[in-house]
């Protein structure tokens, strides 16, 4: 039988159990690294900003210690009741296609990541961010700020209600446009599982020229950044549903009990 750390905390005589989960032959059980090559390289010259920001010395491989298998624990105290609903943060409703984005936060072994903070931010329906740095001459929407957050439930589920973000031009080259996307920030259980990514929409015609999307080298890996249209979650006469599961790193070994 396997038990997550949170369950074993409450075990009778749990000290030994917990210690054995944390350590194996005196070593912390770290998070897997074998599939990290799915991540984009730091230097991806088509994305111009990487040219002056990508480190040029190789990263130093570091074993996970207690510092990396622990990590920030957010509680519900940071959340308001409507923080997951980006369409109800102002007096009126934002312009745009109302959508429900939902899914599960999972670890690399397919288990739910419970009670974990998810943060999102995005452009409005016309492709404009409510941000002083966004100079795209498209209208701001007085009823849309574009930020939201929620906690996953006991099955790792989350849900946001928002509007479909617009595509927008950026200064990465002539006639360069970002595919429609929503930024996602995930914590998971440890410092090692922290992830910031972007969720894209199916069938976007701008993918071919978006170097951020294409910086993920394997098309199969890119596909996991694209949500799926979910007709079952679509609410008649109200909003389109999209499903997007996020998978964080798994543990190197299944914790043992003795």
């Amino acid at each position: 039988m396997t038990a997550g750390p949170q369950e074993s905390e409450n075990d009778e005589g749990g000290r030994a159990t917990v210690a054995s989960e944390l350590t194996r032959n005196g070593q912390v059980i770290g998070y897997r690294r074998d599939d990290l090559e799915i991540n984009p390289p730091y230097l991806y010259p088509d994305y111009l900003s990487t040219r002056t920001r990508a480190p040029d010395r190789p990263l130093v491989p570091m074993p996970h210690t207690l510092s990396e298998v622990t990590g920030p624990v957010y509680g519900h105290e940071r959340l308001g009741e409507l923080d997951h609903d980006l369409t109800r943060q102002h007096e009126g409703e934002p312009i745009g296609e109302r959508i429900i984005v939902h899914g599960r936060l999972l670890d690399g072994d397919g288990r739910p990541v419970r009670n974990s903070l998810i943060e999102i931010w995005q452009a409005n329906a016309s492709g404009r961010y409510r941000h002083h740095g966004d100079q795209h001459p498209a209208p701001l929407d007085p009823n849309f700020s574009g930020g939201g957050r929620c906690m996953t439930d006991d099955e790792g589920r989350y849900e946001f209600i928002t509007i479909k973000p617009g595509a927008y031009p950026w200064k990465n080259g002539p006639n360069a446009w970002r595919s429609r996307h929503i930024h996602f920030s995930l914590f998971g259980p440890a410092f090692a599982t922290r992830l910031v990514t972007q969720m894209f929409f199916p069938g976007d015609p701008l993918f071919f020229q978006d170097p951020i999307f294409n910086s993920v080298r394997d098309p199969k890996d890119r596909e996991r950044m694209i949500c799926r249209y979910d007709h079952d979650r679509t609410v008649p006469e109200w909003a389109l549903g999209f499903e997007y599961d996020i998978v964080l790193r798994g543990r190197e070994a299944t914790p043992m009990e003795d």
């Binding site: 750390p5 917990v18 944390l22 005196g26 070593q27 599939d35 990290l36 799915i38 991540n39 984009p40 390289p41 730091y42 991806y44 994305y47 900003s49 990487t50 002056t52 920001r53 990508a54 480190p55 040029d56 010395r57 990263l59 130093v60 570091m62 210690t65 207690l66 510092s67 298998v69 622990t70 920030p72 624990v73 940071r78 999972l106 397919g110 931010w121 995005q122 740095g133 574009g146 930020g147 930024h183 920030s185 410092f191 090692a192 922290r194 992830l195 910031v196 990514t197 972007q198 951020i212 999307f213 910086s215 199969k220 890996d221 890119r222 996991r224 950044m225 996020i246 964080l248 790193r249």
Partner: protein
């Protein structure tokens, strides 16, 4: 086949959602032992990175992490000390935290690690976060024995991880690329 979700850049507009107000203060300025931990982020041309997010994760003064997997109950937890902070850099690439010096925590083979703070850097142009560590200048002996610092062979590179005292604060500058680049870890 991997099922992991790939990393993407945080982009320049993170401030719409993060950080939250007060996340740069892990303790109040009048907390016993409070230190100002400050620095700046610059790119390979020496230009300030004004759209970075710097996150820190650390143990408390006793060396205990506020996390369910740190089960060393003989060490006290501190009410309200989460060990986590976030700060967005300003127009000159600067960040500043108020925190305390963490105690030592165990490392591989239960050998102690020198007091340190784990750091993540996110920014436009970083397709994945960069991970580094802050060590303390008054811990020469512990730093010399630290198993993670020892992984960095180049002494100059290793030195980029030691904060330096400056007017009662500690300074830790982060250079993403080029001469004087900070040591970054793959974790």
């Amino acid at each position: 086949m991997s099922l992991l979700t790939p990393s993407q850049t945080i982009g320049p507009f993170l401030h719409i959602e993060v950080p939250y107000e007060g996340e740069e203060a892990l303790v109040a300025p009048n907390h016993p032992g409070a230190i100002r931990l400050l620095g700046s982020v610059c790119d390979g041309e020496g230009e300030p990175v004004d759209d970075a997010l710097v996150e820190i994760w650390q143990a408390n003064a006793a060396g205990r992490y506020a996390h369910p997997e740190d089960t060393r109950e003989e060490l006290p937890l501190e009410d309200g000390f989460t060990g986590f902070g976030r700060c967005a850099t300003d127009s000159e690439g600067r960040f500043e935290f108020t925190t305390i010096k963490p105690g030592p925590v165990p490392g591989p083979d239960d050998r102690p690690q020198a007091p340190h703070i784990d750091v993540s850097v996110f920014a436009r142009g970083l397709l994945n976060r960069l991970v580094t560590r802050i060590y303390f200048p008054d811990e020469e002996e512990a730093n010399a024995a630290d198993p993670v610092l020892a992984l960095i062979e180049d002494e100059g590179l290793r030195r980029t991880l030691i904060a330096r005292p400056e007017d009662g604060a500690l300074r830790f500058d982060i250079r993403l690329q080029g001469e004087g680049q900070t040591a970054f870890f793959s974790i």
